[in-house]
């Protein structure tokens, strides 16, 4: 039985009415998430192109749901359970010990996507089933950078686990390059990134932890109540302008990641969704590092109220 068959088997066994899993996208080798019923079980597939995080999708569904979750997906699911957004008893989690996913953008540079029919992982190679014949490329060439530093490739929460549990990386060497730069170099680097941002807010829309209906930076961040007057509505002060201005963009991203301190699951959806390809994970990673090294707690633990920091005093 291969991986996909095992997944289908477990999903079937779960008996859940609804299944959140990956299905093949029409016309492209990519896979997308779908909500299926048991009868569609054969559509379920899984490959290194099953990149998305199902956690946000789960929040819309009531009742028993079986879900396929990679390491990072499970992190997000667990965080959402902690925050009361998901109910553990409603979930049947088919955990997948993840080796990493393919960066679709990298792949598209190497091969013409319309030629690729199917993708699978064999050892250290990616096997591309093409319109005519097969091609093999090293996985290292197309793996998402984010996955290289994944701390929890094995789901931290699951009902069944498919594949061998594997160790994650615990270091932050991905940040070294930036940290070694001088402050001005870093500023130059980041401001050129933030300049590109068009504030489409896709990063927060796809983020499983950005589930606020209204965001603090939304231009019309105003709770309208019977008390609010025309004056309120017209001249309500906003935190940031909606103007695409590198500085406001920077503030938006800082606030966004601050709200994720100690919560981010590391799935990388933000970076994947960003049409301007901003290195948003770097910011999240920095906070992960601070939370771990300064506050002394691991994302995997329940964050204790009194942390190392509280004892520091001054």
């Amino acid at each position: 039985m291969n991986e996909v068959e095992k997944i289908r088997e477990e999903l079937k066994k779960s008996g859940a009415e609804r299944i959140v899993a990956f299905v093949k996208k029409e016309n492209e080798p990519r896979e997308v998430l779908a909500v299926l019923s048991q009868k569609d079980i054969d559509k379920v597939t899984f490959s290194p192109l099953s990149v998305n995080n199902p956690a946000k999708l789960l929040m819309q569904l009531n009742g028993k749901v079986a879900v396929v979750a990679k390491g990072c997906d499970a992190m997000a699911i667990r965080q959402l359970i902690k925050e009361g957004k998901l109910k553990r008893e409603n979930l049947f989690i088919v955990g997948i010990s993840c080796r990493g996913v393919i960066d679709y953008r990298k792949l598209s540079k190497i091969e013409k996507l319309s030629e690729i029919r199917e993708v699978r992982l064999e050892g250290e190679e990616v096997v591309l089933k093409m319109r005519n014949g097969e091609k093999r490329i090293p996985f290292a060439e197309v793996i998402e950078e984010n996955c290289l530093y994944c701390e929890h490739p094995t789901p931290v929460i699951y009902d069944v686990l498919i594949g061998e549990a594997r160790e994650g990386r615990k270091d932050f060497s991905d940040l070294e390059k930036l940290e070694k730069m001088s402050r001005e170099e870093r500023w130059e680097y980041w401001i050129s990134q933030f300049e590109r941002c068009i504030r489409c807010h896709a990063c927060r829309s796809v983020c499983p932890l950005c589930y606020c209906e209204e965001c603090i930076v939304d231009p019309s961040n105003l709770a309208i109540s019977p008390m609010s007057t025309a004056e309120d509505k017209a001249s309500y002060p906003r935190l940031l302008g909606k103007t695409v201005n590198a500085k406001d963009n920077a503030i938006y991203h800082i606030i966004r990641v601050l709200h994720h301190a100690g919560r981010c699951s590391g799935c990388g959806e933000c970076e994947r969704a960003c049409p301007m390809e901003l290195p948003l994970r770097k910011l999240e990673r920095k906070l992960e590092k601070v939370v771990k090294e300064v506050f002394g707690y691991d994302l995997n633990e329940d964050i204790p109220f009194f942390s190392k920091l509280d004892m520091l005093g001054d």
């Binding site: 930036l178 940290e179 730069m181 402050r183 001005e184 170099e185 870093r186 500023w187 130059e188 680097y189 980041w190 401001i191 603090i216 935190l239 940031l240 302008g241 201005n245 500085k247 406001d248 920077a250 503030i251 800082i254 606030i255 990641v257 601050l258 301190a261 910011l283 920095k286 906070l287 601070v290 939370v291 300064v294 506050f295 109220f305 942390s307 920091l309 509280d310 520091l312 005093g313 001054d314």
Partner: protein, 134 residues
């Protein structure tokens, strides 16, 4: 220079009052906004202050263990560290953000720290990186 101080009502604001009662001088650039607790200071306010042209921001609260609300200043410190590290990471001068513990009886400390902070900020020059311009 524009320096914004978020001072907690119970310790630092009272400390600033004491500096006044004792007629201790400190730079005019320092302007205080009263908050109930340093734990109330939202990082978004700090960023907003920088956006609106503040050259330095101080979060001033009670000494650890003295918080009127028991733990507010620990929260302040956590948020301060996160924001400071992040600002530094994007290449912003993180020295412009300061955390100060000043009790109600430390008028002198308050005045001295303010003068010292002004020097720090002055050496950095005007804050341009996050200042919003049309």
């Amino acid at each position: 220079m524009k320096i914004v101080v978020f001072a907690c009502n119970w310790c630092s604001y009272a400390g600033a009052d004491l500096a006044g009662v004792s007629r201790l001088k400190y730079p005019e650039d320092v302007k205080i906004i009263r908050v109930m607790c340093s734990g109330m200071v939202n990082p978004a306010w700090i960023l907003r202050a920088f956006r609106q042209g503040a050259d330095g921001v101080v979060i001033a609260g009670c000494h650890p263990g003295d918080c009127h609300y028991m733990v507010g200043n620990y929260y302040a410190k956590k948020r301060y560290i996160l924001l400071k590290e992040l600002l530094n990471f994007i290449g912003f001068e993180d020295e412009r953000l300061k955390l100060l513990w000043a009790s109600a009886s430390e008028g002198k400390k308050f005045a001295e720290e303010m003068a010292a902070f002004k020097n720090v900020v002055e050496n950095l020059g005007e804050q341009e990186k996050l200042r919003w311009k049309e």
